[in-house]
């Protein structure tokens, strides 16, 4: 059973398929792909050339081909769309869920988009798509699909079941039937289980659940994610400002958003400025990495200028130079820890969050504790290694100042970025380490200047 069902994707399978495509062995291709999950075919085709993929998709039925296309990653999708005419793309769009259709249309230029929409045969799909295209991709309206099952509050169970039969094919997973009044205002929902167990002739109004959590079309997608997570929802209806039912968002969309968020945060924290994958072109990878490296480089030249001011002192007390990495590394580590703590707590936003003042007080307390511990250690190590009391004192004092300053800057930066609408994870990246290097060097040499 297990073996048969969870198809084991392999390079061997891809190789055989590639060979069959080269030989134009249609019978083999069709037979091999029979019953294979579209998600597995997608993964295989992502390794194929667009022309070969087109050949394979041409041998499958339109529904399966459309599903495969809607699963493709962004880069492959862009590549794919180039080998199809707008009219051909329209045949796939015709059988896709409206949200997937719009994701694809958004990858195309406005004129191709219009050509595709003009070629669509399904009138309802056109309406759905035109409605969805109005929303920004980052709000609930941009995440939702128009496909859902709704029942009028005055209907009987039989009428509702008839509607499920009629609409059923268009809605992949039903989850619940939404209940509306004559003006399409969302009133509540009723689960399939309740419908299944209800006696014939029961009215929807007598069994529906009024407590339905909904989101408005203009709500940020981050908030949609946190609402669906908090209330353990598998689907959430989307309403407009006047409470009319406009669409619904399903949990698989939320899972995708969470994956994107994780990737974005990883990139911000590591100073990669474009959405790149390890197998992108060498030029694209270089371009994604160079901006923050250059910013770091420029920052370091400012750092070099700071040190230059104290070169006389270094020439006299060259030990001072050897503790430069201690100061910059510790400052960077502390700042990144601090900003990550803030990013974490912003991600699990609660109305009960402490005020910024209390937060800062706590940060200062932790910083003083950490700073003192590190200062004692640094003093001990340094004195043990170099037997220079004065320099050891300079290192210990500078280090505890740097820990305090880095804690503050690491805490304040993400809060400020968040207020400005910028992803606060950017504060845990090279920006904070570069800024702290400068701060740390200035503090260190000032302390040395005054104490030596």
């Amino acid at each position: 059973m297990e073996e048969q069902l969870t198809f084991e994707l392999s390079k061997e399978f891809a190789g055989q398929l590639q060979k069959a495509v080269d030989d134009r062995d249609d019978a083999f291709i069709k037979q091999t792909l029979e019953g294979v999950n579209p998600a597995d075919i997608t993964e295989t085709l992502e390794e194929f050339s667009s022309a070969d993929s087109r050949y394979v998709l041409g041998l499958l039925d339109t529904e399966t081909a459309a599903e495969i296309i809607s699963n493709l990653d962004e880069d492959t999708l862009k590549r794919f769309l180039k080998v199809y005419s707008p009219r051909e793309i329209a045949t796939f769009i015709d059988v896709m869920d409206s949200d997937d259709a719009v994701d694809i249309l958004n990858e195309l230029s406005a004129d191709i988009r219009e050509e595709i929409i003009a070629s669509l045969s399904n009138k309802e799909k056109i309406d759905h798509i035109l409605d969805l295209l109005r929303y920004d991709e980052d709000v609930a309206g941009g995440l939702m699909a128009k496909e859902l099952i709704k029942a009028n509050v005055n209907w009987t169970i039989e009428q509702t079941i008839e509607e499920i039969r009629r609409q059923g094919e268009n809605v992949t997973q039903i989850y619940a039937v939404y209940v509306v009044d004559n003006y399409n205002t969302l009133l509540g929902k009723v689960s399939l289980r309740k419908i299944l167990l209800a006696k014939d002739g029961t009215l929807i109004k007598d069994i529906y659940d009024e407590e339905v959590i909904s989101v408005q079309t203009n709500v940020d997608k981050e908030e949609v994610v946190s609402i669906m997570k908090k209330y353990d929802l598998d689907a959430v209806p989307v309403v407009n400002l006047r409470g009319k039912l406009m669409g619904r968002i399903t949990i698989d969309d939320v899972v995708d958003v969470m994956t994107e968020q994780a990737e974005e945060e990883r990139q911000l924290m590591s100073g990669i400025s474009e959405d790149v994958e390890e197998d992108d072109s060498i030029w694209k990878l270089t371009r994604a990495r160079i901006p923050w490296l250059v910013i770091g480089l420029i920052g370091s030249f400012f750092g070099a200028e700071v040190i230059r001011q104290f070169e006389g002192q270094i020439a006299v007390v060259p030990i001072l130079a050897s503790f430069i990495p201690l100061i910059t590394a510790t400052g960077g580590n502390v700042a990144i820890q601090s900003s990550s703590m803030v990013v974490q707590s912003l991600a699990t936003k609660s109305v009960f969050q402490d005020s910024n003042f209390i937060r800062l007080m706590r940060v200062i307390a932790v910083a003083i504790l950490n700073g003192l511990l590190l200062a004692v250690l640094a003093f001990t190590f340094s004195y043990f290694l170099r037997h220079d009391m004065q320099v050891s004192i300079v290192v210990a004092v500078a280090l505890s100042c740097v820990v305090l300053l880095a804690s503050l800057s690491g805490t304040i930066t993400p809060i400020v970025l968040d207020k400005m609408g910028i992803n606060p994870a950017a504060a845990s990246g090279p920006f904070i380490t570069t800024a702290n290097d400068l701060l740390g060097l200035a503090v260190y040499f000032m302390v040395a200047y005054f104490l030596l």
Copy 2:
């Protein structure tokens, strides 16, 4: 509608509730919490003392109280459990889903756990719990719940509906009915929609879907997440080695695992060594942060010893000291970028991943390109600022070597960690920057030694 349904949690509400608790105003508490979503009550009670929470929960029905308790975050849960006797905890466990019950039991000592299990009144629940306790928390068996609806392949639709009616209360969201043979072997599934639309007298064997994706009890939870994401599943049945249906995992569990993964990665990347929140105690926060800071400190003292070897040179050419931060900062930035790229591609594992050799070749190509660009910039800046040709050449040469070495170490470290079963994100944290500081300093001063 909207206003009524999405309850706006506020500090004001929490304040009113707290006052009512202080006044022992039971009527007000009951009235206020009437119809409020348990998830909102959970969030409010997380701010209350355990004694006050216990008081509030005592006024609610057992089911609601149990749901609130199962939603609590780990820290609050531990605090809560202390104010209840094992017998009282058992009354909550009795009405909880088996997976939530086990999560709570896992927080308790073995003897309290046994006392609770002995106090349970629901025989089936005891069996479920004893079964689930056998699995590690990190595998499918530890994630699954025993509650699910299954139908024998020989049943009629009527028998299946009767089973749904009987089991319905225990299963929060049905998603699909799993189909088994007389020996409980998973054969497939049938959707509620199909059951709803089937004619009376239809046999399950004639309508069920054989293509069901399942996971085995011993599969890692990371793999469960990636399977459910890839195939857009809202629930996945869990089977044992012999294909018997053991339980099922629902998408909300996967969402929780993804949230945990994101938090764990954030902590590893920022060198925080415990699972802490911003509002934890100052001592706990300090303890979570100090280990990596100390490791960084020790690393920096090794760095200081490296520099010490060249102190004579620094005394003669003090400019050299001013470029130390340039070397360490760039090395750190490059290494973190490289390791993040690897972590990203490990997170979206594909069987088509390039071999490690091809990966390294590409990394080297990108590194050479980045290294050359940075070296040219560094030479230009440095010569423009200091007019010292020799030192500028040293900086440029050292920098391009450091970029290459940091790219390699940043790429290899996470691959090695992953092979060792350690979360590769650990390679994007302070470990890699500390190691690269040492490497960078050694390279820089060696280059200076040979070229000056």
